[in-house]
Amino acid sequence: MTSESITASWVTPSTRPELIESLVSGVDRYNPSNVSILEDYLYHQIRSQEYDCLANLAILKLYQFNPDLYNPDVVINILIKSLTSSPFPDFNLCISLLDDRPQTAHLDEPDPLPQLLPILTNLHSLLHQCRFPAFWALYQSDDLQSLRDNYTVEVVGFEDSVREVAVRAVQSAFTRITSARVSSYLNLPDGSELEDYISKFGWTLDSASSVISIPPNVDNKIESTVVQENIKLPQLAKIIEHTAVTV
């Protein structure tokens, strides 16, 4: 995953179908009857481990203008999905679009969002602060039982996606790291399971010292640079012109 492709594919994921693209980029996104198309697309993302931030924000915007469309399950799923995008600001962007007090009169069951929102915010801040062991501890605690049973279990590959957040953080900061540390960050037991998982990213484990080596990438290869001045011809043009005239 090169740096370039992260941002370009964040704006326009290759997995986004044309219909969704026209909704996201045009004025049809304001049409309330299109909300179900976007909601279906969200569930598609959940089932196929894909992610499309702008399309999900479009759903939240429709909820913003049409409070009677508000569907808390959709919102929770969007937030869960956005957790996996850290360190991108997706989670914050979603919260920015939420109404402080959504209308719940049209719902069949009581709104689960007020209880879950602080929990999700907590999970997000742990991820953002790279406190991965704490994240896994919280995630697996009893308090989050209902979140796991009702929501994250539906999201295919949720735990792997979170692991990728940790992988990104580790990859940029380390050249070598103890396997014990990695194991705590990824919530995978130290051993063959861990080794299998990290080999996907090209990391290698030295079983003797149980230290994992991370191949050099843009971020973990540091070199001191001296920013040189780049003198361009136009800057000298005036002087050269002057000499041409006088000499």
Binding site: E4, I6, F65, H128, F174, T175, T178
Partner: protein, 602 residues
């Protein structure tokens, strides 16, 4: 009829008597003067009586209007009818403001109905007049509930007139006015949202009106967005910009944009509506969409649509703010640096308009946001701007460098500098029970929600400044040792290092991207590090000495000196300096000769 020189309404009182141009009586005509009184004598009808009383009141008010103002209105009307852009601009920019200062500094201008006879009830001019009238009310006075609804109606009429005509209207207005129309429309919308959310202070009448209003979509987010999108679509401004960028010829462009798009009025309104959308989406908290609508616009002070400075300043302010909420601090800093330098240069041209105050306020907010970004992503920036920021916000600036302690400074500056966020939905005025519950427990204002998100981001980065100060002292350092220095657990330190690494990488535009949302991850700080198992290795990048500017300036200076020498006459009797003399002179002076030689080599 005004010739070059003093415009009519600015003429002194003495000249007024001599004035021959506008015949007020002819302009007024027979309106209400002669025939009506007889009618009243014969029919004693209550409605007619009321109407007459009203007319007499109007006439009384009319009579109180100073002559200068009446003349101004007539002249203004003429200019608009003749599509005389220069005259309109003068009337709009200086005439209106002068008369406001002189007569209407604390009161409203006469209502449109009163001055209608002066302009023969021209509906278009009256719409434009009302636009100015309400703008004055909103800025100098406090609009009441009627003002709010009527100004909305007036705006709708204006946009209806522009958008729903069979062919493009023949009207021509100065760009500054077009920008002000859009800007004011959005401002009134925002003002309404804020007013609407304050439930407690509403009278029963107001509550009823609010209920009615929301059912009709008055000042609803959808209708405001609808206006902006319609203007964009009508003028095909996006297609125009793309065609311009592709270098298409005039005829091709004219074909692409259609009959509406070729008219400057529509084109400028379309462009200003894009900026309007940027603003509205930001106020509603949708930062990515705000940047997305600016997809085709080139943010460059030298680009095409920059004649209205206020628009440019506003654009950069909102784009920068969106970048901040997207954690793209470097992009924000870059934007603010260029616009603040621009404002400093442009200041001298704008000293007298009310735009000047507005621009200064926005500039101050941008300095605050610059300070915030600089604290979160320190990097090499323009010294001038940095110094000004330290002057204005020195206290907060130093506090913000101190991590957790500085959070209150961040909050202060954020609240001062952020846009006025609004909530898309009104309080539940149609449901009295819900409304009562709303008053008991009002929801937090939108600004607090965004502030909380921002503070969470800041807090996540709180350990970074201290870590950075430690790391600067070493080229390699063991993590356990660092943990001991910081009196913290080693694992915590390692995690904070990952955060620091994360914080030092921002998404940023490097040039050549299409649209404002694109970008790639760039390092922001000159201090970089990597962790090898438990050992931290640091490097710092430095800036080489910059000598080109100094040498170029000195060379140009020397050339100037030499030119002066060559062209000045020789002292004493005899011929004036010619080339042979100059060369004879040159060897005598030591310094310039060396420089001259240098120039030749270059």
């Amino acid at each position: 009829m005004a010739q070059a020189g003093v415009p009519l309404w600015a003429a002194d009182d003495e000249i007024e008597e001599d004035f021959q141009g506008v015949d007020l009586n002819m302009a007024i005509g027979n309106y209400g003067q002669n025939g009506l009184y007889d009618e009243v004598q014969s029919r004693i009808d209550e409605a007619a009586l009321l109407a007459v009383q009203q007319q007499m009141q109007q006439q009384a008010v009319f009579a109180q209007i100073p002559d200068q103002v009446k003349r101004f209105i007539v002249h203004f009307h003429q200019a608009v009818l003749n599509n005389n852009l220069e005259e309109i601009t003068v009337a709009y920019e200086s005439g209106w403001n002068r008369l406001t200062e002189k007569f209407y500094a604390k009161t409203e201008w006469p209502e449109a109905e009163i001055i209608a006879p002066l302009v023969s009830d021209d509906p278009i001019f009256l719409i434009l007049y009302r636009e100015l009238y309400y703008r004055h009310v909103y800025s100098r006075l406090q609009p009441n509930v009627d003002d709010r609804f009527h100004s909305y109606e007036n705006s709708c009429e204006l946009f209806n007139y522009l958008l729903n005509s069979d062919e493009p209207v023949a009207l021509e207005l100065p760009e500054q006015w077009l920008w002000d129309i859009i800007d004011e429309f959005i401002y009134q919308f925002q003002s309404y949202c804020v007013w609407r959310s304050r439930v407690k202070s509403k009278s029963d009448e107001e509550l009823m009106l609010l209920q009615e209003a929301s059912s009709q979509g008055v000042w609803s987010a959808y209708s405001v967005l609808n206006v902006l999108y319609s203007l964009i679509q009508k003028s095909k401004i996006n297609e125009y910009i793309v065609a311009q960028q592709q270098g298409k010829s005039e005829e091709e462009i004219a074909e692409i944009v259609g009959e509406y798009g070729v008219k400057p009025l529509y084109r400028m309104l379309g462009y200003f509506s894009i900026i309007g959308l940027l603003r509205v989406h930001t106020m509603l908290g949708d930062f990515t969409l705000a940047l997305k609508v600016m997809e085709n616009v080139e943010l460059n002070p030298k680009a095409q649509f920059t004649r209205v400075t206020a628009c440019l300043v506003s654009t950069y302010y909102y784009v920068g703010f969106c970048y901040i909420m997207l954690r793209r601090y470097m992009d924000a800093v870059r934007g603010y640096t260029s616009i603040l330098s621009f404002v400093l240069r442009m200041r001298q041209y704008h000293t007298r308009s009310y735009q000047y105050d507005q621009m200064n306020k926005t500039a101050d907010r941008m300095y605050a946001l610059f300070a915030v970004c600089h604290a979160l992503a320190p990097s090499r920036t323009d010294d001038n701007i940095l110094n000004t920021v330290k002057d204005k916000y020195g206290e907060q600036f130093t506090k913000m460098q101190r991590g957790e302690e500085g959070i209150s400074a961040f909050e202060e500056l954020f609240i001062y500098a952020c846009p006025k966020f609004i909530s898309a939905n009104p309080p539940p005025y149609d449901d009295p029970e819900a409304l009562a519950a709303y008053v008991d427990e009002p929801p937090a204002e939108p600004v607090h929600r965004h502030l909380a998100l921002f503070v969470a981001d800041v807090r996540a980065q709180a350990p970074v400044p201290t870590l950075r100060s430690f790391l600067k002292l070493y080229t390699s350092l063991d993590a356990t040792k660092l943990a001991n220095f910081m009196d913290a657990d080693e694992e915590d330190i390692v995690q904070q290092m990952m955060v620091m690494k994360q914080a030092s990488r921002n998404v940023s535009r490097v040039g050549g991207e299409k649209g404002l949302l694109e970008g790639s991850v760039r390092p922001t700080s000159d201090l970089d590090f990597v962790i090898d198992e438990n050992m931290l290795h640091m490097v710092e990048s430095t800036v080489g000495r910059r000598y080109a500017g100094w040498f170029i300036r000195s060379t140009e200076n020397a050339q100037r000196v030499l030119d002066t020498l060559k062209s000045s006459p020789l002292p004493g009797p005899g011929k004036s300096a010619q080339a042979p003399n100059a060369t004879a002179e040159a060897p005598r002076t030591g310094g310039p000769k060396v420089a001259w030689g240098g120039v030749k080599v270059a």
